[in-house]
């Protein structure tokens, strides 16, 4: 330590405090300003819009567009998910709606310890509230609107020590009563009672009769699919390695996540669909590992959340995943024809229309034929064709397992940048103004011979009216022999 005279120390300290406080205040002010700014003219109270939703199938979800309506319930027609959203002033981390009753597991201000559960009717008036210990994970309502199930993680702040556990509670939504947790139910395996202190349950899905349900049971590191009977307070084990089941509208199939790999601290899941008649499992085309409980869009397609968006993929293993709507989580599909009285009829809504930004991406490669070990330079250009500025612009490049990433430049400044995870190279910039372009120079190196086909997808928080220019591909022929130099 250099010996400084006391006056110098005091002066130095004053400088440090001024600099630190200055930066802190500026940053906080900017964050608050950002929130205020997005409360823009695009939001206005609108009751006619809510009426228009009554006779169509709708998707209800938690809106994640910053600004007014952030974290609140949003409704869009199934047919036009990118259109304007009717916002209901109700904040939920997780939500579900069926048979005229909704379940909202609320924003918690409980230092990560507690959640509040509200039951609401088609008019979004709160009918009952409960308090739960833990962080909200899943919420489901039986198709007849009679029962609800929530799963919370019991974790966080001096509460757990490394190990997480879950608690699944069943509610009588009509009478506003807790029917207990699934730990209170008896479990049978091969007709024998099955019991262990480390039982954890999560991810309930109800059958059409409202009494039968499916859920996940975990004990001794193994997950099981259980089929339950609410009235009898019983469950029986059906199958291994099934998490977060979700029953199809026709009741014939279960979509779920299946653990396919992972080590300490990481689990790799793949979405599968189990046909309950043949017991055949089909992997879906979504190859990313996603932790969500699937919601069926219809009998042929499913929805799921992958922060910050909601995605869709065919339920039969064909096709490829597609972004369904931007900036939303916890989707629930409310099908028209379930009965007029049960359709959501919010009395007050605001309408937000996300300003659209049409992004286009191109991908070119300098050499179309290279040898193993050569650098392959790609140029990726994202352009915002407007009309609005685009926030949180992301490029995702699915990397072949036959390449290694040599470099990417210019690595855009800011807190996010590029990173490689789960086989994707993902790069983000905070904002792209209309007509502005963003170029990424990417250099890959081929490890093995063959045809390399790389595809880039671009996305933004704004709705993108033109979908076909949101991805681009580049093909390179890699030969085995190193080229003579």
């Amino acid at each position: 330590m250099v010996a400084l005279p006391p006056e110098r120390r005091r002066a130095l300290f004053a400088l440090l405090v001024i600099a630190c406080v200055g930066v802190a205040v500026a940053y906080a002010a900017r964050a608050v300003q950002r929130t205020r700014a997005s409360r823009d003219a695009a939001t206005r109270a609108d009751t006619a819009a809510a009426r228009a939703l009554e006779h169509t199938s709708t998707v209800m979800f938690r809106n994640e567009v910053p600004g007014t309506g952030w974290a609140q319930v949003a409704l869009v027609p199934v047919a036009a998910p990118g259109g304007s959203r009717a916002i209901v002033p109700l904040s939920c981390r997780r939500l579900y709606f069926a048979g005229g009753r909704g379940l909202c597991v609320g924003e918690d201000r409980g230092f990560g310890l507690g959640s509040e559960v509200s039951v609401f009717g088609p008019d979004f008036k709160i009918q009952h509230t409960f308090s739960l210990i833990g962080l909200p994970s899943r919420a489901r309502v039986s198709p007849d609107g009679r029962y609800g199930a929530t799963t919370v993680f019991v974790a966080g702040h001096s509460y757990s020590s490394g190990e997480f556990s879950t608690e699944t509670t069943i509610f009588d939504l009509v009478n506003g009563k807790r029917l207990g947790t699934l730990e209170d139910f008896s479990v049978f395996r091969d007709s024998q009672p099955f019991k262990s202190v480390d039982f954890n349950f999560w991810g309930v899905t109800f059958a059409a009769d409202g009494n039968r349900f499916y859920a996940t049971l975990k004990t001794k590191g193994q997950t099981y699919l259980v089929e339950g009977d609410l009235a009898a307070r019983q469950m029986r084990v059906l199958r291994m390695n099934v998490e977060c089941p979700s029953l199809s509208p026709d009741g014939t199939r279960l979509a779920f996540k299946k653990r396919t790999g992972g080590t300490l601290g990481t689990v790799i899941w793949r979405f599968h669909v189990l046909d309950l008649r043949t017991m055949v499992e089909t992997p879906l085309a979504e190859e990313r590992s996603i932790d969500d409980q699937i919601e069926w869009l219809d009998d042929r397609n499913v929805l799921y959340g992958l922060q910050p968006d909601i995605w869709t993929v065919p339920a039969d293993g064909s096709g490829e995943p597609r972004r369904y709507l931007s900036r939303g989580v916890s989707p629930v599909v409310i099908r028209a024809g379930e009965g007029e009285t049960n359709a959501p009829r919010p009395s007050t809504t605001r309408r937000i229309t996300l300003p659209a930004a049409d992004l286009g991406v191109t991908m070119s490669v300098a050499a179309t034929a290279v040898a193993v070990g050569d650098d392959i330079p790609y140029t990726l250009v994202v352009t915002n064709h407007g009309p609005a500025g685009a926030n949180q612009v992301a490029m995702d490049i699915l990397l072949s397992d036959r390449v290694v990433v040599t470099s990417y430049a210019p690595a855009n400044p800011g807190p996010y940048g590029c990173f490689v995870q789960r086989g994707y190279l993902s790069c983000t910039v905070d904002r792209l103004e209309p007509q502005q372009s963003w170029t990424l120079q990417l250099v890959l190196k081929a490890k093995r011979a063959g045809v390399l086909r790389h595809r880039v997808r671009v996305s933004t928080a704004q709705p993108d009216p033109v979908a076909r220019n949101n991805s681009a591909t580049a093909t390179v022929q890699v030969s085995a022999a190193p080229r003579p130099r």
Binding site: M1, Y27, R30, V32, F111, G112, S115, S131, S160, V197
Partner: protein
């Protein structure tokens, strides 16, 4: 063998700490004008902790929300990070303490610890959602926490006269707790005004950490060589066997035993609040209030408890604190007809912290010779923090196995037994020690 020899040597040495206190008395008198009995360095260390706690508690309170909802980490991954958060500090405590003793550089080792945590704040801003990097950042933060605690507490003890150790630690803990209260309030206020602005929380947290570091680097100095045992330290090696010799310091083994046993029979605050919530159902949004209330009582009572400890005996106040905790556990076993017991329990809980947290370090400061001060303090806190962690896991298991009533009853029984053993051990320790030098 060598280690044993050196341990035997220093028993014969006169304690030098008193001399230093006399030299320093002018400074002490000067400080007396605005806060009685406590040196300026202790205040500076308190302010360091205050700002560092603002910083770390801001992040700690929002981390579960950020990891699970913003980054969408799976609970299993979250569990690993949370486990690191809880356990990592314990691993390096001893290292930090022994290194500080050995190098005679308490301030510098503390600076490394506080600095690591500041660097971790920066890390949170840049790593994005790659969970391995996030785990690394959390690890660095907690390693920093583990390293700094013992050298800092040793500095507090060197800058206080032996008869006022309890007060000094009380003042430090009051400032420290003030920071722990302010941090979450700041974080939640900001997130209410600007939902989802985690980056702003991290930046402000970094700023607070830097100010804390500024107090330490600019206004705290190492005590003179003579006060810290001087040459005696060079004869110690940084080895396990040498560290184990710490237990041979008169009074030390009893202190570690009492501290560890009593910590093993405690229930973590999170569990306690949940248990209270099950007795009288209150909404989950009141949980922050429970934390704040406990911390506020702790903050208010830390100095009075420290002064009381200096006057009537530290061991007495320490044991008394655990008796308050016993009363809290007892109350969980009887029927509650109103929410009134919650208030009483929170006051008792805050008073328990005030009577035990700083006082334990004051006890250690009085027992340990200057040249082994930081290492010894680290040994005590390693024991108590590991025991606390084990106790918390045990309580969780008992709860899952037989329900909350059973778990509380077992803990209550354990705590009663630990109190008896602890009281006897501390009495014996005091007797051992008075055979050597008056504390």
């Amino acid at each position: 063998m060598l280690a044993w020899f050196s341990a035997a040597r220093y028993h014969a040495r006169p304690r030098r700490g008193i001399l230093y206190q006399l030299e320093n008395s002018v400074q002490l008198l000067k400080a007396r004008r605005w806060i009685p009995l406590v040196s300026r360095t202790v205040i500076m260390l308190g302010l360091t902790s205050l700002f560092t706690d603002i910083s770390s508690e801001m992040v700690a309170t929002i981390l579960p929300l950020y990891l699970l909802f913003d980054l969408q980490l799976s609970p299993a991954t979250f569990g690993v990070i949370d486990g690191l958060y809880q356990g990592a500090a314990a691993l390096v405590r001893l290292f930090g303490g022994v290194a500080a003793d050995r190098l005679r550089r308490f301030k510098e080792v503390a600076v490394v610890g506080y600095g690591l945590s500041a660097v971790a704040r920066l890390g949170l801003l840049v790593v994005g959602n790659v969970w391995t990097l996030l785990a690394g950042v959390v690890l660095v933060d907690r390693l920093g926490k583990g390293i700094r605690t013992a050298p800092r507490d040793a500095l507090i003890s060197f800058n206080s006269s032996p008869e006022e150790l309890g007060t000094a630690f009380g003042v430090h803990r009051a400032l420290d707790t003030a920071g722990a209260m302010l941090g979450p309030v700041l974080a939640f206020a900001l997130l209410t005004l600007a939902p989802g602005a985690y980056d702003a929380v991290f930046v402000i947290s970094l700023c607070a950490a830097l100010i804390g570091l500024g107090f330490l680097t600019l206004f705290v100095q190492n005590p003179p060589e003579a006060a810290t045992g001087g040459g005696a330290a060079e004869r110690h090696t940084m080895s396990w066997s040498d560290t184990a010799q710490l237990l041979r310091v008169p009074g030390m083994a009893s202190l570690v035993l009492a501290g560890t046993l009593l910590s093993l029979a405690t229930i973590s605050d999170g569990f306690l609040y949940v248990a209270m919530q099950r007795r009288v159902e209150f909404a989950a949004r009141f949980f922050p209030l429970l934390y704040v209330a406990t911390a506020a009582i702790f903050m208010l009572l830390a100095v009075p408890a420290g002064r009381l400890a200096d006057r009537i005996g530290r061991a007495r106040v320490f044991i008394g604190g655990y008796m308050l905790l016993l009363a809290v556990y007892g109350s969980l076993l009887v029927r509650w007809t109103s929410p009134f017991p919650v208030i009483v329990d929170l006051i008792l809980l805050g008073a328990y912290y005030a009577a035990t947290d700083g006082v334990l370090m004051a006890l250690a400061g009085a027992v340990l010779p200057p040249e082994r001060r930081a290492g010894g303090m680290a040994l005590v806190t390693t024991g108590t923090s590991l025991a606390r962690l084990a106790g918390s896991i045990l309580f969780g298991l008992l709860w899952t196995w037989r329900g909350v009533g059973f778990a509380v009853a077992v803990t209550l029984t354990g705590l009663s037994a630990a109190l008896v053993v602890g009281a006897v051990a501390l009495r014996r320790g005091a007797a051992e020690q008075s055979g050597r030098a008056p504390a």
